[in-house]
Subunit: 427 residues, 2 copies
């Protein structure tokens, strides 16, 4: 084995563990060594205790009972509860908080044999206020957010897989910025219990990894499903090119990534056709924002009414804005989104998947702003599955992803096509 263990994909690492060529402890040790070398620059972790993770790994190495993630190190976004590690939700209000239970996704990952390596940095409550994480591809640039540490840790080979969440654009955007695969499954694929909510109508648990196979494997386990066997790549027949109503925000690098992908698909024999979303979608992003802020203002009622002095100013003002939205406007926004879900199902029906942008362009410079989510909030609101695939770079050499989008609960078809597409695209 020439490749360092921490650079293996999850599928490869698990195969080596299963074949007796690698132990869980060796794998965790390799990840911890990388963390030790890079963490002072990247700041991917909110909490990590190497001895604790190694002890877990050694326990795995001693057990005969081997689940599908046996020995796999996993980074856990710090809005996801862990009973044995502090969980602070990116907020000083909850510094040092010890949850009573693992979140459902963490418990299912552990039951499958995974080792929780540590807690990754999140923006405050998954709102806008950034944490300390830098983009490992260029430390002067944001990693994106809110799942900042999860994206950065996977991109920097600190861990093969990390858990994140998306309510607006918190998986796809940071994955695109950091140059990894991000997968937001269909809403309600992974049970959200024990994940601090932001807006329950959209909150979705998903994963970061360095290949599509790893995403499929981990999400299958976290869903509490045996999805059965390795993922088979499948060439899609028809792909819809969907620029969405946010296209005017696409920078040259993103336009090039999406259009190059479309051309490469055509060259590989795929039929690609433009898909225009109906006029109702013009109000979609505003509606999605209204629902998100209305719900967030109630989700954080305790923090807003009893701990407001410890909230970042941007969090406080977002929550106050949400509390000022009248319920009628909220219900109207929900109704518009529900209509758009039906319209979207019809729009995507002739296609295996839609191709779109993952982010406006490269990760912006500076750590004070995690970038814009206008290419992500559509899928968050529609609840449909999506992945970002890293294959392109922008003017400064930073990664630029492309997004593939599936129909609701049609994740397996999307994953199979995404695996195939990942093999044919790139600069």
């Amino acid at each position: 084995m020439t490749q360092p263990a921490n650079e293996l994909t999850a599928v490869d690492a698990l195969a080596q563990i299963s074949a007796g060529r690698l132990t869980a402890a060796e794998l965790v040790r390799a990840c911890l060594d990388r963390v030790a070398a890079r963490e002072a620059l990247v700041h991917a972790f909110a909490w990590i205790d190497g001895e604790h993770a190694l002890a877990e790994a050694r326990l795995r190495d001693r057990t005969r009972d081997r689940g599908p993630l046996h020995g796999l190190p996993v980074g856990v976004k710090d809005i996801i509860d862990t009973h044995d590690m502090p969980t602070a939700y990116g907020s000083p209000i909850h510094a040092g908080h010890r949850p009573a239970a693992d979140a459902a996704c963490v418990a299912l990952a552990r039951a499958a044999g995974a080792v929780m390596l540590g807690k990754t940095v999140t923006t405050e409550f998954a709102l806008r206020h950034p944490g300390a994480t830098a983009n490992p591809r260029n430390l002067l640039h944001t990693p994106g957010g809110s799942s900042s540490g999860s994206a950065a840790a996977v991109a920097d080979f600190m861990v093969p897989v990390a858990l994140g969440t998306q309510t607006g654009g918190s998986i796809i955007r940071p994955a695109s910025y950091c140059g990894v695969v991000g997968y937001k499954p269909s809403y309600n694929t992974i049970n959200p219990t024990g994940v601090k909510p932001l807006a329950g109508s959209f909150d979705t648990v998903g994963v970061f990894a360095r290949c599509v196979d790893d995403c499929a494997l981990v999400v299958g386990v976290l869903a509490g499903d045996e999805r059965g066997g390795p993922l088979q790549a499948a060439r899609p027949s028809r792909v819809g090119l969907c620029r969405t109503h946010a296209w005017s925000h696409a920078e040259a690098s993103t336009i090039r990534a999406v259009e190059t992908t479309a051309r490469q698909l055509v060259q590989a024999g795929v039929t690609v056709a433009d898909v225009e979303l109906p006029a109702e979608f013009e109000g979609f992003l505003d509606a999605q924002s209204d629902v998100l802020l209305f719900e967030a203002a109630r989700v954080f009622a305790f923090e807003r009414t009893q701990r407001a002095d410890l909230l970042a100013p941007s969090s406080r003002s977002e929550l106050e804005r949400g509390f000022a939205i009248p319920r009628d406007r909220y219900l109207d926004a929900q109704a518009l989104i529900a209509r758009c879900r039906t319209l979207f199902a019809a729009a995507i029906a002739p296609y295996d998947l839609l191709l779109s942008a993952s982010a406006p362009g490269e990760a912006p410079r500076g750590l004070d702003n995690t970038g814009e989510a206008m290419f992500n909030r559509l899928c968050s609101g529609l609840r449909v599955p999506c992945l970002t695939l890293p294959a392109f770079t922008g003017p400064t050499g930073m990664p630029v992803g492309v997004q593939v989008i599936g129909a609701m609960d049609d994740d397996v078809r999307l994953l199979r096509a995404a695996k195939w597409i990942a093999g044919v695209i790139g600069d």
Copy 2:
């Protein structure tokens, strides 16, 4: 004032506090005196500390800033987080657990001036395994569940209002058994953050009170709405009598309560017509059960995989059953329920509300079983608002409620009609 303060409705108590004829501390003291006299028999509370509640009440009495629930004592079901009181979810796994934050509903109630009196008994994780609570109308009978202590405390004049939750039948059934008003608002009226989930697709926070006005007032505040002004009673024009597919389980006392109500409405000038639900509803209760158990098995992944020895046998077997349900069956069940929601909207459209049964009959004898929820799971699955109104008694003199059901998010119309109906029905 001849009526003891603890027997006042919330609206009356708040009016007296507002007029300076009653202090929050006096009201809380009266409630605590009742608890002291009766708790050894009723066992409504999982945790209560009189000094803590009195200190909160005195704080309210000293503040000028007066919200709409200023000084109101509230009982809180023990699956609802409180940052200053232990929250054990009815399980020894979490005995003594101190949450980091108030649930959204608790924070909003406090921000409106309410005083949390104590934590009320729940079945284990709101599943079937009962707590110690007895029915205050007859201590040998169950109070129903899972919100057992909330129903009993309100019925026994320990507190004017209590918070509960319903996923199957956990508000309407215990309210009917204990002879109080129970109100399950439309799904997502009250944000569920900080409430231990059971099945997120149905989990709904609601209230117990001794009149419809109190329910409307408290839910308006917990929703984060200013619903504006006192509730006006309104005679409905048309009421649908809906026996549902569970009618064969209705005992004579329930049949009599529903049919007497229908007759009394007709005598008062209301048009009452039979409503039969379409054939698709035959599979509804099975589908609702599949969704509930599938989700519960994932919600309690930590408890099921790491603390199974501390689960009641009935909880463990329900969770194992849920984990064995394949995702395809779950998605099929969700699809059937979604179709039924559309069909129900059409079925109720010609009516102001539907009239139905709250429970099979009186509360069963014995504390080892909280009764059956087949008359409640319809509204839980449909997510529509419903109330049970206490006005009848069964063969042993125990209460028997009738249920009124509204269209989704049409709660105000339902509440206004329910207030009017409460004034015209009874044995």
